[in-house]
């Protein structure tokens, strides 16, 4: 396998990535913020984090994940503003509509990036891959706004297309194929490869692999048996040589979580429980949309004095319905040793999720189980149509809870993207192509 040559075939994968998407979208909407160091944060409190810095803010050294209090100190004129989820959803839909003109095989990887498989598409008869990329870039500027920029990468597989898109930001266009793969890849760090971070980098380093060159030229058997301990090593050997895996998008995920952070300590138990239920509803809705149920439930609370509380429970039958999830989370919540202590962060985690949980029936309390199931389906259908928290339980009602349950935007996650357009026609084939 070590002698496997780089894929000599033509490039058909195109990766399009919006540059500093949330910040650019806000700069597009508010013209006075253009060319200024603007950062977008979900909650504008000192302990919150910047999730999308503009390029001007990046130049000051602010990265995704920098704390708001640090970002303000890194340079003069830093503007931080809270995220505007409906605007980003609109941007995503417009972006999707443009991409859909070229191929039906558009795979959204997150809210601001997508992969296009252009193999056999009519668009390629009149234009080259680069021609299509330039046209997409032009249309983004004309149809989404003059401040919007995208980077495009072209390659023989999804991984290298993503790497290529990240090479020349902002507004870049790069191709990685057999002619330049070694030259481009060997100039990168291991962590520049999508999927190599933290633990995987540690695994590679432990086995004496420190550069992309060493990684790419390593034997597949060594990678699969010694480094990754699974077939993943074999996949990496092929990916780095430009071959595409059979699957592009993962079908199911292991865990679903939701969290809230605040700078004022919350100590009223009814408000806290209301927020915990709201978070449970958010996480379990995501889970149910995937048709999965959780077997491991966890609640974490961080208090203002720096201490924290963690409670978890493993259940035999996967939790699927909303009432059951609320019951279980209430039990975990009641285990707190010092319930009056002001809390600053709450995390609800539903993990060890298994597919097909909704089909599992109980032999006890069939009527009750059926009733809960129908309530859950109605709850999800209404909230899906009219927006999150339109229908909620009594505990979640009230200004104190409302102030802390924001509309969140999925950022950087493949699994959440489906929420954005499941009820939209943005991804339908445009009429002119029918």
């Amino acid at each position: 396998m070590g002698a496997l040559p780089h894929n000599p075939n033509e490039c058909f994968y195109l990766h399009a990535d919006m540059n500093a998407s949330f910040a650019s979208a806000n700069q597009q909407a508010f013209p006075l913020w253009r060319d200024k160091p603007l950062g977008v944060t979900p909650v504008n409190v000192p302990g919150g984090a910047v999730i999308s810095p503009s390029y001007e803010l990046k130049a000051l050294g602010v990265k995704t994940g920098t704390r708001n209090r640090d970002a303000r100190l890194m340079g003069p004129g830093v503007v931080l503003r809270e995220s505007t989820p409906p605007l980003y959803r609109q941007m995503h839909r417009e972006f999707a509509r443009i991409l859909r003109h070229y191929t039906p095989d558009v795979y959204p990887l997150s809210i601001d990036e997508a992969l296009l498989d252009l193999k056999g598409c009519p668009a390629l008869k009149t234009r080259s891959m680069e021609g299509i990329a330039r046209e997409i870039k032009r249309r983004v500027r004309e149809e989404m706004g003059e401040h919007m920029r995208i980077s495009v990468g072209i390659s023989t597989n999804a991984l290298l297309a993503k790497v290529a898109a990240g090479l020349d930001k902002p507004d870049g266009l790069r191709r990685i194929d057999a002619s330049n793969a070694e030259e481009v890849l060997y100039g990168l760090k291991l962590t520049d490869l999508p999927g190599i971070a933290g633990r995987n980098e540690g695994r590679l380093n432990q086995n004496g692999v420190f550069t992309v060159e060493e990684f790419r030229s390593a034997d597949a058997r060594f990678l699969s048996r010694q480094v990754f301990g699974s077939v993943e090593g074999w996949h990496w050997t092929r990916r780095l040589r430009g071959y595409q895996d059979a699957t592009l998008i993962r079908g199911w995920q292991k865990g679903f979580s939701a969290s809230v952070q605040t700078d004022v300590g919350l100590s009223r138990p009814d408000v806290l429980l209301g927020i915990v239920h709201a978070l449970t509803l958010r996480a379990s809705t995501k889970m149910r949309r995937k048709g999965q149920g959780a077997r491991f439930l966890q609640l974490m609370v961080r208090y203002r004095d720096g201490t924290h509380f963690r409670a978890f429970k493993r259940v035999e039958r996967p939790v699927w319905t909303a009432p059951e999830a609320f019951r279980q989370m209430t039990l975990l919540f009641n285990r707190q040793e010092n319930p009056g202590s002001p809390a600053v962060k709450l995390i609800v985690d539903l993990s060890d999720a298994v597919p097909g949980a909704s089909d599992q029936l109980t032999i006890f309390d069939i009527e009750e189980a059926d009733r809960e199931r129908r309530i859950t389906e109605a709850l999800d259908a209404i909230n899906f149509k009219y927006g999150p928290y339109t229908l909620r339980t009594g505990l979640m009602v009230g200004a104190a809870v409302d102030a802390h349950i924001h509309d969140r935007i999925p950022f950087g996650s493949v699994s959440d993207v489906e929420e954005l357009y499941a009820d939209e026609e943005a991804w339908a084939v445009p009429p002119e192509l029918l």
Binding site: A25, Q28, F30, P31, L32, G77, V79, L80, Q90, G387
Partner: protein, 87 residues
Amino acid sequence: MHELIRDTRVKVNVTYDGVAGRPVPLWVQWRGKAYRVRKVGKVWTERRGIAKVWCYGVNVGSLDMLVKVCHSPFWVAVEEISDGLPD
């Protein structure tokens, strides 16, 4: 300066853009002053329950405003205002 104000004592003069197929604001009358919309940065929509709200990021010269218009039930509001300078 960047402020969330949520002021509904506002009037918005809107026309219809036949090419884009959507309404666009021309003037915003707020706190006794009329502002001519110089540039519409972006138009998007959001949902509040069953109501559809049109959101406009507009520039009126030295200020940027986030103007929201809902047709049913009818209301208009200036939700955010910014002069582009830091807080």
